[in-house]
Each structure stands twice: as C-alpha cells, then as structure tokens.
C-alpha cells in the first residue's frame, strides 16, 4: 500500500493483535483492516479476540475484513461462510484477496488506499458511512436470513 501514490501522507501500522499499547503517541487511525487467513483457525480466533478491543465508532465504515487464502481450497480450514458471518455481524465489508499473488496484492492495495482516502475524509462528498451503505446494498438479499 505504501507504494501507491497518495496526495497526503500515508502511514501503515501493522499489528498481530489488538489492543495496541497505549503508551505510544500515534496519529489518528482512519481505517482498520483485519486480515483473516482462511488456512488458519488461529487467525480467525485472533481476529475475533482483537475485535473486542475496537471502539464502536470504528464500525461505521472504518473497519474492513480481508480474507486471504481462498484460492487454495485444499488448504482451507475455515469455511468461507464463517468469515462472511463475521463480517455481517460487525456490519463491515469483506474483501477477498490472495495476498500471496503479486497482481492481486497490487490491486487490493489500490483499492484499500481509495477506501482509506474516503475514511480519512479526503474525498469531498463521500464519507465512510456513505461508502459502507453503498457496499452493503450490493450484497445479496439472502444475507438477511443469516
């Protein structure tokens, strides 16, 4: 993501789990992306644990889930449905990307930078909440019965 051109300063902070240590002074967080590896149940458990430490205001469009590893079906130990249900419970968009593939990674980075710009308020006329409702309406109606 840091390779993408962006008008303002882009900072990415990587963390294995939340909560982040509060002793450090850090700039405002605009977007949280939870990366779930479909090959590892531990990754899902870790994500679920970390979600509890996220302030409720972030869930208005500033949280997004990224599922990786769906391409190698034989290595998956989590069913895709589990992640979909997680994203639905937290009312946040779910993106799929095989992070191991260079091309997909670059595309996803571009996409995330655009989302980040919206969440940071740098795109006039669109807010994080607008984006969230736009993304949600494209999902099928059958999700309602989940």
């Amino acid at each position: 993501m840091l390779k993408e051109d962006c008008a303002s300063e882009l900072k990415v902070h990587l963390a294995k789990s939340l909560p982040l240590p509060s002793s450090v002074n850090r700039p405002r967080i605009d977007l949280i992306v939870f990366v779930v590896n479909l090959h590892s149940k531990y990754s899902l458990q870790n994500t679920e644990e970390s979600l509890r430490h996220v302030d409720a205001s972030f869930f208005l469009g500033k949280v997004c889930f990224l599922a990786t590893g769906a391409g190698r079906e034989s290595h998956c130990s989590i069913h895709r449905h589990t992640v979909v249900k997680l994203a639905h419970t937290y009312q946040s968009p779910l993106l799929y990307c095989d992070l191991e593939v260079e091309g997909f990674r670059a595309t996803m980075a571009q996409r995330l930078v655009r989302v980040l710009q919206i969440c940071a308020g740098h795109v006039p006329g669109v807010s994080a909440l607008n984006l969230l409702s736009l993304l949600r309406s494209s999902e099928g109606p059958s999700l309602e019965d989940l």
Binding site: K41, S43, E73, S74, H79, V84
Partner: protein
C-alpha cells in the same frame, strides 16, 4: 473473484421451484440449482452420523472385505454419457485392448514384461445409499497366469471402483442418458490409473479430477468417525498437522487413545444422531487447547493433513483407507458429497 466460490450444498434441495419449471429440461434444472448455490447458503450445520443403512443388509461382508484396509486414491467424476450396465463384457474387452496398446506404445519395452493382463468389469451390489443411486461397479486388472496349467485367477494389479452414495442433489439435475457415479476410488499403479482414466474420458465423455480433502472437511470426518460406535478399537485416533516453515515443513503428530477421544466427544455431543458445526469446532478446540497447554504451540495455526481413526483414515491429498465394514456406506456418503461439490 468467482473462481474462489466454494460450492455449497443446498439444504433446501426439496424446495426446487418445480411449479415454475414444468417440463424443464435437465439443463434448465441444473442451471437453476447452480444459480441457487452461488447465492449465499450456509453449509449444512448438521450432518447425520453415519448409521448402518438398510441397504447394507444386502451387502455380503465377504464380498466387500477387499475394499477395506486398502489405501484408495480419490477422484471426482462427472456423469458418464451412455454407459450401460449390460455392456460390461464389451467394455472389458475394449479396455483390455486399449491398455495393451498403450503399454506397447512405450519406447522401452522391458524384456519379460507381462502383457498378459485381463480386465474385468463387475457390478458391486449394495453399494448405494438409496434405491435411486446407480449401481456401483468395479474395474480390476488381473495378471494372467503364465502357466496354462494353472486355472486360478492371477494377481490383482489394479482396482478401481465407481460409486454414488446418496447422490440425490446430482441425480436430480441430470438427464436419462447420463449415469452419475461421482466418486471414483483407485488402488494400484498410478500409470494404470492414468491409462484407464483416459479410456473412460474418451469413451464416456466424462472428466476425472483428483479429490483433495481440505482441513475443514478433515475435522468434520474426525468428529463424525469418533462419534461412531465401534465394538473394539483397531487403531489409535491420530492426527497429523503440517507446519509451514522453511526450509522443510514440520509435521506434528498427535495420537489419542480412541476411548478417550470417544469420551471427549460424548461430553460435547448433544443431539443423538446428528453432528453440528459447533460440536466439531468444540471437539477440535479441545484438542488444540490441550496441546497448547502442554507444548505452547497453536495447532490452529497449522494445517490438518491427516486424520486416522478406527473407522477410517483420510489424508488431505485425497487418500482414504476404510477400516470398519459397518460404516463403509457412511464414509462413502460423505466422500460422495465432497465429490459432488467438486463437480458442481
């Protein structure tokens, strides 16, 4: 991202809109079922524990004994076009000729190589889940004995069998000309499997693809087979995980006494006769947390590669060995389900 869609079985298979599609061709029915599946339907949260089915009473244990204790490589097979059970003898002859021709095509013919082989097609009675399932059939390659004085059958070189257990979701969508036997199991030299596969693909316009079993399904199998009541345990319950690390992957093996595993399962299990997703997850989580407490390793971050119980053992590469005659149909039913998912 459509290539990532993992097709899911639809538990509401019975609510097909038959009234809208009066006189629908099988192709239309099939399209409708595919459209239903790519929309968001959860995996069946419960599955029946394999019980001894009614039809198994007809199966002679002696006749199917040769299916047990052998390692089978799994493939999924699309429906066979214009396959007829009455032409089995003719198929035997054709396949025999094809195999001999293929083997002679090889550049180096070893001296003394025995091309005296015999191919036998036979039906396996009773290997089905419901009456609707087509009959299973068996293909065997036997070596013909060199000495004419010996009358007995030669050694079995290769065995392969095709079956369909509870394949209702596939059977409904296919027309009369097709025979649905989605599960193919092979034992023997890989070269023979390839040759026979080619012959079938050419003759019946079908397609074989290797059936891999992912960790998610392996943990379901572990739970279901541990749930099965076995009179005496022939093997310990064993799991094998593969840790991805460089330069070589590390394997972790975890063996439990089968009675302990059964005791753990019984303490988790609630509804008799059914297994739910939560129970499977809890079963595996108990094993993971026990391991973590002792070794501080998170098994949930590794990949489950092999599951071995007294009922059967399965490897992620699509290899299965069935040990228990009583649950043969149950194991095959689950494998058929996986094969049908892969085809659809």
């Amino acid at each position: 991202m459509d290539s990532y869609d993992i097709p899911e079985s639809t538990p509401s298979a019975s609510s097909r809109p038959e009234d809208y599609f009066v006189g629908a061709t099988p192709l239309q029915k099939r399209l409708e079922s595919i459209r239903k599946q790519t929309s968001f339907i959860p995996t069946p949260p419960r599955r029946k524990i394999p019980q001894c089915s009614q039809l198994q009473e007809d199966v002679d244990p002696q006749k199917v004994a040769f299916l047990l204790h052998k390692q089978w490589t799994l493939y999924s097979l699309t429906p066979l076009y214009k396959f007829s059970y009455s032409n089995l003898k003719q198929y035997s002859r054709l396949l025999n000729a094809f195999i001999v021709a293929e083997k002679q095509k090889g550049l180096a013919v070893e001296v003394g190589e025995d091309f005296n082989i015999k191919v036998i097609f036979s039906t396996l009675l009773g290997m089905k889940g419901t009456q609707r399932d087509p009959e299973a059939f068996l293909v065997q390659i036997l070596s013909k004995s060199q000495l004419p004085s010996e009358n007995r059958e030669g050694k079995v070189l290769w065995t392969g069998w095709f079956c369909c257990i509870f394949g209702d979701s596939l059977l409904e969508t296919v027309s009369e000309d097709f025979t649905c036997l989605p599960l193919f199991l092979a034992n023997g030299a890989e070269s023979n499997t390839a040759i026979i596969g080619t012959w079938f693909q050419k003759t019946f316009d079908c397609y074989f693809s290797p059936l891999a079993i992912n960790a998610f399904n392996l943990s379901w199998m572990a739970a279901m087979w541990t749930a099965c009541k076995v009179d005496h345990y022939v093997a310990t319950t064993e799991f094998l995980w593969s840790v991805p690390c460089s330069p070589q992957s590390l394997d972790i093996s975890y063996a439990i006494h089968p009675e302990d595993a059964k005791a753990l399962w019984d303490s988790i299990h609630k509804t008799p006769g059914e297994v739910t997703q939560e129970e499977v997850d809890l079963f595996m989580d108990c094993l993971y947390s026990h391991f973590h407490r002792h070794f501080k390793i998170h098994l949930s971050a590794t990949r489950l590669v092999r599951v071995s119980t007294s009922v059967a053992s399965a490897h992620t590469d699509g290899k299965i060995k069935i040990l228990c005659h009583k649950y043969l149909i149950g194991v095959l039913a689950y494998l058929t389900e996986l094969a049908v998912f892969q085809i659809e």
